[in-house]
Amino acid sequence: MNTLLGIANLSVSFPLSSGLLDMFSADREWHLRVLEDISLDLGQGETLGLVGESGSGKTTLARAVLGLVPRSAGTITFDGEAIAGRSDRAFRTMRRKAAMMFQDPVASLSPRRKVGALLVEPHIIHGEPLIDRAEAAARLLALVGLPAAFADRYPHELSGGQARRVGVARALALNPKMVLADEPTAGLDVSVQGEILNLMARLKGEFGLSYIVVTHNLALIRHVSDRLAIMYLGRLVEVGATADIFRMPRHPYTRALLEAEPIPDPRRRRASLAIEGEIPSILNRPVGCEFHTRCAVARDRCRGQAPEFTRYAPGCAVRCHYPLE
């Protein structure tokens, strides 16, 4: 499979303050390290699920890929071209060929513009020829199963599901190769969730899309993704084929995450590795393995030494000293 998107050693950090103190402090201590050393590939036509708790950096990773959050280190390669620099200009080609769907479908549409204007905006921004705006908007609406009359509505006049469809239509306006979907089903009721997922699957077939789906909904990701990447505290802890990970998670965190998913059967017992407490503050990362504070199988080594991200098979890797067998 050809690689469409390559991320290598990507880190994102924000300065904590820009005051006088910075001049006297060691460089990294005053930075909020949101993403640390992420390396990840996305194949052509592949769907990659990005999973983790709130605050694990999933959304930031998706945004950093499109340069919406500046990266502090690492390289991004898209469609055979490395992105040089962090400026908007460097990401111009990529933003034309890759689109993003946002978590809050209504809030991600500019409130004072009509749907029709929003839909043709990608064409205008990228200087694509557009003969008939109304016709182009109607075509995009039809693509996602909305009547052409929606072009005259304002975003606040849409339901969550309708706004989500508009978001999909907008993402597809320029025939992208990759779509980054941030919680594509958040805030939708179950029947609409299903419709959106079917729509996304159909469009994947029609346009040969690759998806990165950011979610914490495991039931969802199990059915849509080919591969999974599990994140914890801004790091990848496990990457592998979805089926393999669900069958046999190797990182204790992955296992705990999978076991936290409710099982629709009252007789089955809750599992052994359940984690407790909150995700630690990113300001105060645990020393050693970052998961050791909540890990059920942590040993002394985990408290002192950070594990490497180790490959054990092609496309599969885990960051743990003692991966589960």
């Binding site: 945004r63 499109l66 919406l68 908007d88 990401f91 111009r92 933003r95 034309r96 689109a99 993003m100 946002f102 978590q103 809050d104 809030a107 991600s108 549409l109 500019s110 409130p111 004072r112 513009r113 905006e121 990608p122 921004i125 990228h126 907008r170």
Partner: protein, 298 residues
Amino acid sequence: MSSAIDPRQLAAGAEPRPNAGPLRRALASPMGAFGLTIVAIIVILALFAGLLAPYDPLKIDVVHKLEGPSAAHWIGTDNLGRDTLSRIFYGARVALGVACVSIGLAMIAGLLLGLVAGYGPRWLDGILVLFFDSMSALPMIMFALAVITVLGPGTGTLILVIALVSIPGYGRLVRAQTLGLKRSDFIVAERSLDAGPARIILVHLLPNVVGPLIILASMDIPVVIMLEAGLSFLGLGVRPPTPSWGSILYDGYNALRSSTTLVIAGGLPLVLATLGFTFLGEALRDGLDPKLQRRGLR
């Protein structure tokens, strides 16, 4: 007892519907209605001064100077025998004209500067905030006097001064809103489509920040009317013989020993205009703030 009318229901019925438009809500309050009436009258006077004024406001008639109210001159004449009523009508035109033009300029400049400060690079924001702060640190009247001394008095200078001192208020308001919107989903979504800063500022931020500016402007108008009158009173604003409420007041002040009509005639429109615009502005502000809906409008 089924026919008895609950007084609470009556009271509730008299209240505007909670989902009525903000403008209707604002005007349903007695204060808002009063404000709007006065403002409407002043606007009509200013627009149609030429038709409504019984005399040419500049026509000097020394024989009838400083007369009291009469059938010919309803509220008398000034020290040069000019018809005071006509001068008040034309004064409304000056007061409103200066206020609208200068506040309009300040709004446009404040809007653009505020958007650039809020969305642009940090160093530019720093410079603009420094400018806003320094401008508002200057006492308004002292700054006005200084500029007038340099440029010479006149309507143009007056407008320039008022616009300059008003810019920081609008600029800060726009900047604060822009900073709030900058990280919102729809702006990030636009960036993900590679919309440039100009497009984001003009197409997506601008329409979302103008609303509060209008309220601020309506509350600024009385201040500006007073400032114009004050400077014209001192002879530093509108040049004579153009009628201004401030200069009518000044003429009345000089003639105070022989007649009080002129002072009252110059002062009353000022008081009414200030009250009218202030009431209207406050009613608009309360009406646009959904959180104040239930509490009623004072």
